[in-house]
Symmetry: C2
Subunit: 213 residues, 2 copies
């Protein structure tokens, strides 16, 4: 009932703990199944307190997403050290898929759920900044490979190439997340599906015949 917080630092702490609680519940039970009241109860506050830190549920969701985008991007960033361009693309795909499959509910929130016609400018992420935007990293390395002449001669748009690679990996991951439990499909092993998507796409896009698996 009293203000338990006066310092700006403590305020940040509470904000973070709201985000944490929300993230845990979202991951555990999915997005729509979690109420503001539950999130609040988990950290022993009343629901209305959340509104002192986030405008509404959508904004809270967006904040959780932002953190996840950063986490994904920073994971990717490590991989960007690899010297070989093709190996780098492959490692990006692998890392991206790992993130998706290990955080299916985050991934769903981030890449499988259309939100406000377009994400308003509420997000704190600097899109295009390779340190914060995983897609920008893929775009960058594909661009490098393109300039090195590694792609088929009839391909003239490196952004289109990057988007195709992204879509391929995303397709495997998102089908697995959405329908992986469906009994009526005899899913092949998810590793095999990812592997084949990677190799087939690269084989189809690269000038040189066969990349090393």
């Amino acid at each position: 009932m009293p203000p338990r917080i006066r310092s700006e630092q403590d305020r940040e702490k509470l904000r973070a703990s709201i985000l944490d609680a929300a993230r845990h519940l979202f991951v555990e039970r999915g997005i729509d199944a979690v109420s503001m009241r539950e999130i609040a109860k988990k950290i022993n506050y009343s629901a209305t307190t959340l509104y002192n830190h986030f405008a509404d549920k959508e904004a809270l969701l967006q904040a959780v997403c932002d953190e996840d985008f950063l986490k994904l991007a920073s994971g990717m960033h490590q991989v960007m050290q690899l010297p070989d361009l093709i190996a780098r693309i492959q490692a990006l795909g692998k890392g991206y898929a790992m993130f998706a499959l290990q955080n299916p509910n985050h991934y769903r929130l981030m890449f499988m759920t259309p939100r406000a016609p377009c994400n308003p400018d509420i997000t704190k992420i600097q899109q295009g900044n390779t340190e914060q935007d995983a897609y920008a990293q893929l775009k960058h390395v594909v661009q490098e490979a393109f300039e090195a002449g590694l792609f088929r001669a009839d391909l003239s748009d490196s952004e289109l190439i990057a988007q195709t690679i992204w879509a391929g990996i995303h397709g495997v991951c998102s089908l697995q997340i959405a329908l992986g439990q469906e009994g009526w499909i005899q899913w092949a092993d998810i590793e095999a599906r990812l592997q084949l998507m990677q190799s087939a796409l690269l084989q189809g896009l690269l000038r040189q015949p066969a990349p090393v698996a």
Copy 2:
């Protein structure tokens, strides 16, 4: 207030009109944003009447989905007449993508939304029946092509191949549906993305070097 319906036929009619109203609203505003009360109001009934025809919202949703699956499958079925196997695969992909992009909210419901751990056996669709199951059709033609020796020699699992092709097309469509309006991505033309995904995948999977676009 009175029973406006006595014959079994009229009962079917009402059921169909509920499905229609639900579909329209879902397509218009998305799934979660539509309430049972709204659906009912649209056909001038009270909300509880819907429960005489469908166990709950989930079941109504499932019924709408079932109809869409059938529609998709029957669209695919026409294409299966094409004599050339590769052309058939390409046409399947094209038709699938058309359906997805023209019915984004249906598609979201069908392939981008994980529901009950697995879709219970409530569905009326006969999975595996090529007349009712679009995936079964793709599987079938890929199997044929596999047996005709059209794929790379190191590929030994035709189901894995089919799932990879599906994932590729699905990846392009679902990214478009979920993020197509996002301003921070300079999306290439959707037709070009579909085209490249098709040609690159086939190029990477087929034994013969280049399929005809």
